[in-house]
C-alpha cells in the first residue's frame, strides 16, 4: 500500500514541477512567420476535414473552397505561387491548439470570430470571408417548417468545440424547450448520426448545413429551416504577436474583395495596369509602394488576383456553381446590397 502512495507522491511532485511557472518575462521577440514561410517555400494552412464550398479535398487530394483560397492568396502574395500551400485538415477541437502551437500559420477553417476567442487564447482574427448564421436542418417528412414547432424532448446533433454548441443552449433556453444535445467530434459523424435518425434536427452554421446536405444519402428529404439564430462571422485566424504576418493575411483577403469591387478579375488583371483609376492601379501593383510595408514586392496583390481571382470569382467557383448557396445573401458587396465592405488599399 505504502509503495503506491510513494509512487503517487512522486508523480504529484513531478506534475507540480511541470506546472510551476515562474513569472520572469522575456523580451518580445521579433515576428518571424514570414521569414520561416519563405525559407520553407510553402504556407502552412489549417483547414476543415471536409466542408464542401469552404475547404474540401477531392479524390486526388486537391483542396478547393473559399477558405482554401485565402491561404492560396497568401501563398501567391508571399511566395509567388498560389499552389505552394500545405493544408492540414483539423477538427473543430484541434484547430486553435494547432495554430497557437505553431503547427500551422493560418487557420482558415470556417471559424467564428468571437470576443473570447480573439482576446483570450492567443489568436487574432484578421477579417471576415463569409457572413453566416446558425440554423437548423430537419427531415421534410417531420412536417416541421419553423423552429417554433420544436417541442420538449427534441434531440439535436452537432459538433463539439464550436460556437454552435453554445448558441444551441441559448436558443433552446430562451424558448424554454428541453432538448438532448448529441455532440460529435467530426462533422462526418454528426451527419451520419442525423442521417440514421439518431437526432430530430442537425444544427450548425447555415452554410455548413447547405454543404453537408449534399453529403446525405438523400438530400431532398431534408430542409434547412428559415430562422437564423445567431451571428457567425467566419474568417481566417493567425497567431497573436506577429503583426506583419497578420497584416499580410488581412490584406490578402481585402485585396480579393476590393478587386471584385473594382471589377478586376483573374482574366483582366494585367490589362488593368493601364487603367485610368489610381485605386485600380494600386490594386494591381502599378502605382504606389503597396508591398513595402510587408516586406513584399509591389505585385503581390496582382499575383493574388491573377492566380486565385477576386472574391466573387472564388465564391462563384466554390459555393454558387456547386449548388451549395447560389444566392450570395449578405456575402454580396456593399455596393450591391450585401455587407462585404473592406478598407481601401492605399
Amino acid at each position: 500500500m505504502f509503495k503506491y502512495l510513494k509512487q503517487l507522491f512522486s508523480l504529484v511532485a513531478m506534475v507540480a514541477v511541470l506546472f510551476t511557472f515562474t513569472t520572469e518575462t522575456m523580451a518580445a521577440k521579433k515576428s518571424k512567420t514570414l521569414k520561416n514561410t519563405q525559407k520553407k517555400g510553402f504556407v502552412r494552412c489549417g483547414v476543415s476535414q471536409g466542408l464542401p464550398g469552404f475547404s474540401n479535398a477531392d479524390a486526388a487530394g486537391n483542396w478547393t473552397g473559399i477558405d482554401v483560397d485565402v491561404c492560396r492568396a497568401v501563398a501567391a502574395a508571399v511566395l509567388g505561387d498560389a499552389n505552394k500551400v500545405k493544408f492540414t485538415p483539423l477538427s473543430a477541437k484541434e484547430r486553435f491548439t494547432a495554430l497557437t502551437s505553431g503547427e500551422i500559420d493560418i487557420l482558415s477553417r470556417n471559424t467564428t470570430w468571437t470576443l473570447s476567442r480573439d482576446a483570450d487564447i492567443g489568436l487574432t482574427f484578421v477579417g471576415v470571408n463569409f457572413y453566416d448564421g446558425q440554423g437548423f436542418m430537419v427531415r421534410k417528412s417531420s412536417g416541421i417548417t419553423s423552429t417554433s414547432q420544436f417541442k420538449d424532448g427534441i434531440s439535436a446533433c452537432t459538433n463539439i468545440g464550436t460556437t454552435t454548441e453554445l448558441n444551441m443552449r441559448d436558443f433552446f433556453n430562451s424558448k424554454g424547450i428541453k432538448y438532448e444535445p448529441v455532440a460529435f467530434e467530426k462533422a462526418d459523424e454528426v451527419v451520419a448520426a442525423y442521417d440514421a435518425g439518431r437526432c430530430d434536427t442537425y444544427t450548425t452554421d447555415k452554410s455548413g448545413l447547405a454543404a453537408q446536405r449534399t453529403k446525405m444519402s438523400n438530400p431532398d428529404e431534408h430542409i434547412v429551416l428559415p430562422e437564423t439564430v445567431s451571428k457567425e462571422p467566419l474568417g481566417p485566424v493567425v497567431r497573436q504577436g506577429d503583426s506583419v504576418w497578420e497584416d499580410i493575411v488581412r490584406w490578402s483577403l481585402n485585396t480579393m474583395i476590393e478587386a471584385e469591387e473594382y471589377g478586376i478579375t483573374s482574366a483582366n488583371a494585367d490589362m488593368m495596369k493601364t487603367s485610368d483609376n489610381p485605386a485600380i492601379k494600386r490594386l494591381v501593383g502599378a502605382e504606389g509602394e503597396m508591398g513595402a510595408a510587408f516586406g513584399l514586392d509591389n505585385e503581390w496583390n496582382l499575383r493574388i488576383i491573377k492566380q486565385v481571382g477576386n472574391y466573387g470569382e472564388s465564391y462563384k467557383r466554390n459555393i454558387a456553381d456547386t449548388g451549395i448557396l447560389p444566392d450570395r445573401g449578405p456575402n454580396e458587396l456593399w455596393t450591391k446590397g450585401g455587407i462585404l465592405y473592406v478598407p481601401p488599399s492605399r
Partner: protein, 383 residues
C-alpha cells in the same frame, strides 16, 4: 563513503536529468505562452460553462461551473468503465471456460469469438456497433415493446423507472441480510474447523437475501411501482419516449464494444489460469475424498485465480483507458466533455490536458491498488 556515492550516484543523475527536462519543457511552454498572450491558471474551473451535456449522473446544465462539467465527464467515464468491466468479466469467464470445453462446437465457437474480436481495432468495433447497429434499430414509433415495458430504439433504450415507497426499509433489509450472511459464514467456518461439521452456507445465504427483502414488502410497507415510458409525438414523423429511464445508444454501443473486446483478453487469462493448475492437483484432491465441487472451490480456483488476477488487472486498466474513445461516438465521457468541449470553449489546453491526464492516472492507480490488494489476499499465505 565512496561506496555510498557509487550507490546513489546514478539515481542522483537520473533525478537531476528528469528535473532539467521537465524544467526545460516548463520554461519553453511559459515563454511561448507569454509570447502569444495566453494566460495560465485554473481559475476557469469556477466559471459558468454555458454548454449542456447529453447525459449526466448528477444534476448539470450550462449554468453550472466547468468543474461540475469535469465531474459529469468523470462520472460518465467511471460508469461506462464499471459496466464494461462487469460485462467483460462475466463474458470472459464464460468464454474462457468454454474454450476448455470437451464439446467441439462450444470450444470452436469460443475460439472463433476470441480470435475475431481481439484482432479488430477497437475504434472500428465502436463505429460498427454505433453506426451500423444503430441504423438497424427502429425509430421510436416503430419499436416493438420488450416485455411490454421497454423499448429499444435508434434514440436509445427506454426502460421503466422504479418508484419506491419506504425505500429505506428495503435498503435496511438488504443490509441486514448481508450482515447475517457474513455472521453465518464465519460461524460455519468455525464449526467446520472445530467439529468438522458442514453447513449449507450457500443455500442459507440465497434464502436470506430473498426472504428478508420480501418480508419488507409484506410487512414493512415497502411499495414498488413502475413508471413506464410513453410515446410522445414531437412532429409528424418524429417521436420520443417520455417518463421512465432512457439509456442513450452511445452508452450502450460503447459499453458493448468495450466489453466484447476486453472479454476476449480476459477469456485468454482465464483459460491460461485454469490450464496452469497441474492435473495432479485435481487427482490428489479427489483421492482424499473431496467432492468435484470442493475440488473446484478449494483446490483448483484458488490456484487458478493467482494466475488469472494480475493479467486481468491489466485488462481492466486497458478498458478504462480505452473508454476515452467515447469521443468518436458522442458519449459524453471525460475526454469529450472536458478535454473536448471545455478545452475548446476556454482554450486552456495545458491546464485541461494536465487535469485529464492526472485523472486517468488516478483512476488507473486506484484500480491497480484495488486489484493488487485482492491479489495479495488470494496469494499463498505462508504460515
Amino acid at each position: 563513503m565512496n561506496f555510498k556515492l557509487k550507490d546513489i550516484g546514478p539515481q542522483l543523475i537520473t533525478v537531476i536529468a528528469v528535473v532539467l527536462i521537465f524544467g526545460f519543457f516548463t520554461y519553453n511552454a511559459q515563454v511561448n505562452m507569454e509570447n502569444r498572450g495566453i494566460d495560465f491558471g485554473y481559475g476557469f474551473l469556477s466559471q459558468e460553462s454555458s454548454f449542456d451535456v447529453q447525459f449526466s449522473l448528477i444534476e448539470y446544465d450550462g449554468s453550472h461551473s466547468y468543474f461540475r462539467a469535469y465531474l459529469v465527464g468523470l462520472l460518465n467515464t467511471i460508469l461506462v468503465s464499471v459496466i464494461g468491466i462487469i460485462l467483460a468479466t462475466i463474458l470472459g469467464v464464460i468464454v474462457g471456460i468454454a474454450r476448455l470445453s470437451p464439446n467441439y462446437l462450444i470450444n470452436k465457437f469460443a475460439a472463433f469469438y476470441v480470435e475475431f474480436f481481439r484482432n479488430i481495432p477497437l475504434l472500428l468495433q465502436i463505429f460498427f456497433w454505433y453506426f451500423a447497429a444503430l441504423r438497424a434499430l427502429p425509430l421510436p414509433q416503430d419499436a416493438e415493446p420488450m416485455f411490454g415495458i421497454s423499448f429499444l430504439t435508434i434514440k436509445g433504450l427506454f426502460v421503466p423507472a422504479f418508484i419506491w415507497q419506504n425505500f429505506n426499509i428495503f435498503f435496511y433489509s438488504i443490509l441486514a441480510a448481508i450482515i447475517t450472511i457474513i455472521l453465518i459464514r464465519n460461524h460455519a467456518k468455525k464449526l467446520q474447523e472445530t467439529q468438522g461439521k458442514q453447513t449449507p452456507v450457500l443455500l442459507i445465504s440465497i434464502g436470506l437475501i430473498f426472504i428478508l427483502p420480501l418480508l419488507s414488502f409484506l410487512i414493512g410497507g415497502v411499495r414498488l411501482s413502475f413508471e413506464v415510458p410513453v410515446l410522445k409525438q414531437l412532429a409528424t414523423t418524429s417521436f420520443i419516449y417520455e417518463g421512465g429511464v432512457s439509456l442513450p445508444p452511445e452508452l450502450i454501443a460503447l459499453a458493448l464494444s468495450l466489453s466484447l473486446y476486453t472479454a476476449t483478453f480476459i477469456a485468454e487469462c482465464v483459460r491460461a489460469g485454469i490450464q496452469g493448475v497441474g492435473k495432479g492437483q485435481k487427482e490428489a484432491a479427489a483421492s482424499i475424498g473431496l467432492t468435484p465441487n470442493q475440488v473446484l472451490k478449494l483446490v483448483i480456483m484458488p490456484q487458478a485465480l493467482r494466475i488469472i488476477i494480475p493479467p486481468t488487472t491489466n485488462q481492466y486498466l486497458n478498458l478504462t483507458k480505452n473508454s476515452s474513445l467515447a469521443a468518436a461516438i458522442a458519449y459524453p465521457d471525460l475526454v469529450l466533455v472536458f478535454a473536448g468541449t471545455a478545452l475548446m470553449q476556454t482554450g486552456k489546453a495545458i491546464e485541461i490536458v494536465s487535469i485529464t491526464m492526472f485523472t486517468y492516472l488516478s483512476l488507473s492507480i486506484s484500480i491497480s491498488i484495488l486489484m493488487n490488494w485482492y491479489n495479495k489476499k488470494i496469494a499463498i499465505q505462508e504460515k
